[in-house]
């Protein structure tokens, strides 16, 4: 039996807010992976729940999930949803299960609801034939890489210790030739890698966009290369991740053209210009994503598994529960509260309206839960201030306070 922390589980009144319908469904096609990356939060983290779940989503689970998504779409009159076909490695047994899942959802939802389907893969099984079939079905493909060279991907190996890079690199080349199908690259930051080398090497792979992900960490399990501290807004602090990202930002900003979109940077710039964020990493927008595991369990985002065993569980499943019931789960509701979910330090923080406390997963502290600043607090402030400074110099003088139309914390 999972023991959840006090906040939000013991104290949040989930009936006191208006839930935002889910618009993104993360569908676990396979519960296993052909790789064994050293930093993987799913298979190397504290939660070993994957061992008890089926290796693959059954036809019954797929049909039931598709029906539940359709029910949610009808109930809320949604005109578009996204499905993310995920794993483990979703292409573990070829494209068939992924195509069948996408097809089931597309058939189930009412006419008029657009379904954008994306496969997120490590790329090692993305052959020409597989890519042809995914592209023909209108699926987009995203790659997980740690950079654009073999050395950047040294932590990505198979279970026999063989590097994933040669096959992943071939996949990146194939995708670069199919811009309509290429969704982008997700890159987890490794401080040991030179930020500019990582950035330039990714650019050479010609993705339409990328995102730089902070390694999952929390106050009980601090980020690689940093010291442990009790939760709080500690200053001064070293900011190795903020510095790494700021170096990449400068290269991206000064490129003279938009070589590729970078989600984190664009969202921070958008927030600084008064727009709400579309990202989990920054800002205060409600998270509208939910996960369905291979056994039909409805779960919160699986990155929570990096916090403690069972952290992503809701106790709900697609066979007995609707997605509307999941919206009333404290863990799900907490992700839709905006500033009401923030710690005191974040509410009083001068960069709070942009940072938004960072990724919820990174706020966790054992015992007390998720109402803390991010364990990347100082790094986030460094990056936000850096981008603000560069943006200010580009856009010209600041506007006067009476012209401010955004809510400032």
């Amino acid at each position: 039996m999972t023991s959840h922390p006090r906040w939000p589980y013991a104290v949040l009144d989930t009936t006191a807010h208006e839930p935002v319908p889910f618009r993104q469904f993360v569908l676990k096609v396979h519960g296993r992976c052909n790789l064994d990356c050293t930093y993987c939060y799913l298979y190397q983290g504290p939660d070993h729940g994957w061992r008890d779940r089926p290796a693959r989503a059954s036809d019954r689970t797929v049909r039931r999930t598709a029906d539940r998504i359709a029910e949610h779409v009808r109930a809320h009159g949604l005109d578009a949803v996204r499905i993310e076909l995920h794993g483990g490695e979703p292409l573990l047994t070829g494209p068939g299960p992924v195509l069948a899942y996408a097809d089931a959802v597309r058939r189930a939802v009412p006419a008029g609801c657009r379904v954008t389907a994306t496969v997120q893969t490590n790329g090692t099984l993305l052959t020409d034939a597989t890519l042809d079939r995914l592209a023909a079905a209108g699926l987009r493909v995203g790659l997980s890489l740690d950079g654009g060279r073999a050395a950047h991907n040294a932590r990505r190996t198979d279970h026999a210790g063989r590097p994933a890079w040669p096959a992943a690199h071939a996949a990146a080349r194939r995708l670069a030739a199919r811009p309509q199908t290429y969704a982008g690259i997700l890159c987890t930051i490794d401080l040991a890698a030179d930020p500019l080398d990582v950035y330039r090497s990714l650019l050479e792979l010609r993705p339409p966009g990328t995102d730089f992900l902070l390694p999952h960490a929390n106050w009980g399990s601090p980020p690689p290369g940093t010291d442990g501290l009790p939760p709080g807004r500690h200053r001064p602090r070293p900011t190795p991740y903020g510095d790494w990202l700021a170096a990449v930002f400068d290269a991206w900003w000064d490129e003279g053209r938009l070589g590729m979109r970078v989600r984190l940077f664009q969202e921070i710039a958008g927030l600084l210009l008064g727009a709400p964020s579309r990202a989990e990493a920054v800002g205060l927008s409600p998270l509208a994503a939910v996960v369905v595991e291979t056994d039909g369990s409805i779960e919160q985002v699986d990155a929570l598994r990096s916090a403690y065993p069972g952290a992503s569980e809701t106790g709900l499943d697609v066979f007995r529960h609707s997605f509307d019931e999941a919206l009333r789960h404290p863990g799900v509701a907490a992700r839709q509260l905006g500033e009401r979910a923030l710690a005191e330090e974040c509410l009083n923080c001068p960069v709070g309206r942009v940072c938004g406390g960072g990724n919820y997963v990174h706020r966790y502290a054992p015992g007390t839960g998720f109402r803390h600043p991010s364990v990347y607090c100082a790094d986030l402030e460094k990056l936000v201030r850096h981008i603000a400074h560069r943006l200010q110099r580009t856009t010209g003088p600041s506007r006067r306070p009476e012209q401010c139309s955004t809510r400032c914390l």
Binding site: R23, Q24, V26, E84, H86, T118, Q120, G142, G184, I185, D211, L213, R235, P236, T239, G242, D243, W252, E255, G256, R257, L258, Q266, A269, L272, L273, G274, A275, P276, S277, R278, A279, E280, S285, P286, A288, A289, V301, A303, P350, V351, R353, N359, A378, E381, K382, R385, A388, H389, L391, Q392, T394, T395, S398, R399, R400, P401, Q403, C404, C408
Partner: protein, 50 residues
Amino acid sequence: MTLPTDDTPIPLPELAPPDHTDHPVLAAILAELRSREGEFPVVAHYEDAP
């Protein structure tokens, strides 16, 4: 220049989207923000999807 994080009480500048810019990256950001106008509510997406 990377700014220090010790200047904690200093508020962020209030920036307005410019009507026009010659900066190519900023122009792309502004175009994307314009494409989101009318979207309500703007929701956050799952980080492990591009």
